[in-house]
């Protein structure tokens, strides 16, 4: 089975459905027609731009260009993590903890997957690297954001019980141990749920895409599995790193709880 190329006319037909929806919203006074149209326009522009960028990128084999795009993706993901924090760490830590943990987990797992597991030649071939990195970052980002948010919230609310343990002679890591575990668990729940529901409740997007593009379903399933495993490992490692660095940052060298380091 070959890939059937979509013509602009095909897309226009699908787009007409969205216009119909917007018209319906206007007629029924739902008041969301403006937002529907703007969101549709945004996704059109963004995805076409991405397509153009990837087209250029896939044509080159310049590792610096690929590295640059990877860095841009990482820094955007870092801002996204920061934006989802209710109480942020002050100063460069707010951005740094999330970005560093994502860098450590996503990039190490990415390199492992490309060199050892898939065996791409050369390993930085953008056709594999960029989509894999995108999937990894997108998911570790969610896990790390949830875990860090839980950590800082609970520490903020739990000052009394953390300090009670310190006052009874506990070390800092004992005093925040249960909060740390809670935060990690919260960060891991989305990916665990996604793994459990995959294929039964939801047909994962990547697998759908591969099947539409003409891959045999078994090959698509295997790739999807690979991605899921990589994502879980990445989310787990990333959340661990973020919670560890974050909880350490909540205490100073005299093991005092420093909530003034949160905003």
């Amino acid at each position: 089975m070959d890939l059937i190329s979509l013509s602009p006319f095909d897309l226009a037909l699908a787009c007409a459905l969205v216009l119909l929806l917007a018209g319906l919203s206007w007629r029924l006074r739902l008041g969301v027609e403006r937002r529907i149209l703007i969101a549709a326009a945004r996704s059109t522009v963004q995805l076409i731009l991405l397509g153009l960028v990837l087209k250029v990128l896939f044509a080159t084999r310049d590792p610096w260009l690929i590295g640059l795009l990877a860095l841009i993706m990482l820094s955007v993901a870092g801002w996204e993590v920061l934006a989802r924090q209710h109480r942020r760490f002050r100063g460069p830590w707010g951005y740094g903890i999330g970005a560093l943990s994502m860098f450590l987990s996503s990039f190490s797992i990415l390199v492992l997957a490309l060199t050892v597991i898939i065996g791409v030649e050369p390993w930085y071939q953008p056709q594999y690297l960029i989509p894999l990195l995108g999937m990894l970052l997108g998911n570790t980002m969610t896990g790390i954001a949830i875990a860090l948010d839980q950590l800082s919230r609970q520490a903020w609310e739990g000052r009394n019980r953390i300090e009670a343990r310190l006052l009874l002679g506990a070390r800092w890591d004992e005093a925040i141990g249960d909060i740390r575990r809670e935060a990690l668990r919260a960060g891991l729940i989305p990916i665990v749920n996604a793994m459990a529901a995959a294929g039964v409740v939801s047909l994962p997007g990547m697998m759908t895409g591969q099947i539409l593009a003409g891959s045999p379903p078994m090959e698509a399933a295997k790739y999807q599995l690979l991605i899921m495993f990589l994502i879980s490992a990445g989310t787990g490692l990333g959340s661990l790193a973020a919670v560890w660095i974050g909880s350490r940052r909540l205490f100073d060298d005299r093991e005092r709880l420093r909530l003034d380091r949160l905003s």
Binding site: A164, R165, L166, L167, L168, G169, A170, R256
Partner: protein, 204 residues
């Protein structure tokens, strides 16, 4: 066991404090609410960053690990924290016999260890927090309104326990108390925080 000595301890908004509380000495601190009494105790316990040094006996705080300092110079906050479900989980594991003895002196029986923390009254929490703290056998006590929520019977029990402990262990006690009767009853040196300074209280 030894004296507690503060050298230039300066919590936020207070002038530096130099103070020596001898072994087996009791010093009361009073002052309007918001004057900085609790902040001073928190600074001595090293919960907040601040300039200054404290000594227990001859040992400076800065060479002790934080957990060791907390065990030796123990702070009982006005609102002690609880992190687990039952009372027993909060009690340090050492010396079960000494623990029961302490609980008994405060009017509890052994059954209290199985009680749910969420069902304790404020006064019960305060007395249990005192027992929890004394189990660690600290060398100095920092008490923040240790008996503020207690009825007269339990207040007398707690006062007796603290004074007994102090005499038995030669402990230094720095006690923040609003209650002038308590300060007169237990009779000892009294200081007041006034205008950001710690000075002797002439009224008592």
């Amino acid at each position: 066991m030894g004296e507690l000595r503060l050298q230039g301890i300066q919590p936020l908004g207070l002038a530096p404090v130099d103070l020596t509380v001898g072994a087996d000495e009791r010093v009361f601190i009073s002052g309007a609410s918001g004057a900085g009494k609790s902040l001073l105790l928190r600074a001595v316990a090293d919960l907040d960053p601040h300039p200054g040094e404290a000594y227990i006996g001859d040992t400076p705080r800065s060479i002790l690990a934080a957990p060791d300092w907390h065990r030796r110079v123990a702070l009982l906050p006005a609102e002690p924290g609880w992190w687990a479900e039952t009372v027993g989980e909060h009690m340090p594991a050492c010396e079960p016999l000494g623990r029961l003895d302490l609980l008994g002196q405060l009017g509890f029986d052994a059954d209290v260890l199985r009680w749910q923390v969420s069902r304790l009254s404020t006064g019960e929490r305060q007395r249990l927090a005192l027992a929890r703290l004394l189990t660690l056998r600290p060398e100095a006590l920092l008490l923040d309104e240790a008996t503020a929520n207690l009825d007269p019977v339990n207040r007398d029990r707690a006062e007796a326990l603290i004074t007994d402990y102090q005499a038995g262990q030669d402990a230094a006690v720095l006690w923040v108390s609003h209650d002038p009767d308590q300060r007169r009853r237990l009779g000892s040196r009294s200081l007041i925080i006034d205008g950001g300074r710690l000075r002797p209280d002439e009224d008592t």
